[in-house]
Amino acid sequence: MKITAEEIDGIAVLARLRLTAEEKSQLVRQLDNILEYMDKLNQLDTAQVEPFSHRVDTMPALREDAVTNHPDPEALLANAPDRDGTFFKVPKIIE
């Protein structure tokens, strides 16, 4: 086994996902299958190979750090699941 049910639990906490028992048992099987397939990468010796990165020489220069306030705060707030006037209302963070 490449991955255990306990590992799945730990990853789910890191990923901020709650999984049902059924989802969990399915994921153990599916991720195990996928990770086993990924093992084929170990056939290659990559000790001397740099990790990939996009060429940056054609990227643009930095821009001015100018303030660009959103013209319509109401439209932004309209998507909020909970709000109080012009504020986003969120669950209590500190007990």
Binding site: I3, E7, I8, I11, A12, V13, L14, A15, R16, L17, R18, L19, E23, L27, Q30, L31, N33, I34, L35, Y37, M38, K40, L41, N42, L44, T46, V49, E50, P51, F52, H54, T58, M59, P60, R63, H70, D72, A75, L76, A78, N79, A80, P81, D82, F88, V90, P91, K92, I93
Partner: protein, 488 residues
Amino acid sequence: MNLAALTLHVAGEKLRAGEITSTELTEAVFQRIAASDEQIHAYLTLDREGALDQARRADARLRAKDGDAPLLGIPMALKDNFLTQGLRTTAASKILGDFIPTFDATTVQKIRAAGAVIVGKTNLDEFAMGSSAENSAFFPTRNPWNLERIPGGSSGGSAAAVAADQAIAALGTDTGGSIRQPAACCGIVGLKPTYGRVSRYGIIAFASSMDQVGPMAKDVRDAALVLEAIAGQDPADSTSVKRSVPRYSAELSREVKGLRVGIPKEYFVSGLQAEVEQAVRRAIRELENSGALIEEISLPHTGYAVAVYYIVATAEASSNLARYDGMRYGGRASARDLTETYRVTRDEGFGAEVKRRIMLGTYALSAGYYDAYYLKAQRVRTLIKRDFDEAFKHCDVIVTPTTATTAFKIGEKIQDPLQMYLSDIYTISINLAGLPALSLPCGFDSGGMPIGMQLIGKHFDETTILRVGHHYEQATEWHKKKPPAIKN
């Protein structure tokens, strides 16, 4: 005359000549949608009122001869992962079910400024994760050529809409083949431009080192015209590149004589449907008859691409999708504390494939596994890129099938994620290397399903693949075939 069946360039000529109006054209497209979308389910959201308003304004500009942009007055569809100001945008996810964007993606701004009419938002696999459009949280889209088959994914709605004349052209996004594979499945043209060629600002991010926006169209000229309209550097996307945008459509007619065409032997192996291979080989002979020089080449690390892709893409996705926390937009579940609120919100909001990819990506990035999976994959990605660098030293374009098989049946692979991942085998290397690639129709199998051929170009050389594709189209009729009539 069925106006909805026109190509973008022919419709544009008629609009500018005053033979038709954008309002007539837009009405024809909506009639076509009314007649066929109950079967196909290409659209998630339609904006008839907005579209007709844009059409009237386009007609005013056309009458005043204000601008001759090729997109002026043309009804277009957008995949529902492009932000559209004031128009619901879901990424086919429950977590964004009621989301109304406050701005347009840069590419949407560009096509609006060019006078395009936005018909609506098309279905996709949730957050563009999938190869069949079955992972939509709303409903699967069906292939206009055979309603029992998938339209491909993730831009399955855009592909089906264009194939069924429910839009004159569309935009899609392609992270591992999501423009090209559905284009092949639905018998249309799809172009994934070079990484950096088109702005991604306002696109709902999936895997940021590979996501790219591109046209889905009825022929190669249309794809070239749409690319001209959307390409170019954008200050709001630091990965977009400052390079002048060629007039792709003006370069289409140059001949292909003497052009060096590479055929990678690793793409013609077991698993490739015999009829797909025959069709692509026939297309290669067609190019040879036109004077192109055909050469077998090798891309030795092709067999590792799926493994690399599903590590890199899921790692980036797990990071990009961390923003869906239910605080500023989207639904929010109630739970005993903040962490549980996040977990329940995300559990209820994301579908099975999205959760699977977040889990896989989080695993690949987690302490103890980062080197073994993520870093290893990025090293092998360098080898895949080098294969292409080497190949392009002695060829100008690479020709392959777009997919190993024609469109499979709805439900056939949905229970087996690895089999679904392997259906991207011919398209993902291109995203890993950041190259441009075009898919265009090159035949049909015995069941009447379209076959796609893929043309891969050098970095920023969309011009050559469009030219080769256009040349092939001139000699063939595949792109003119229409799906069997969909009953009213």
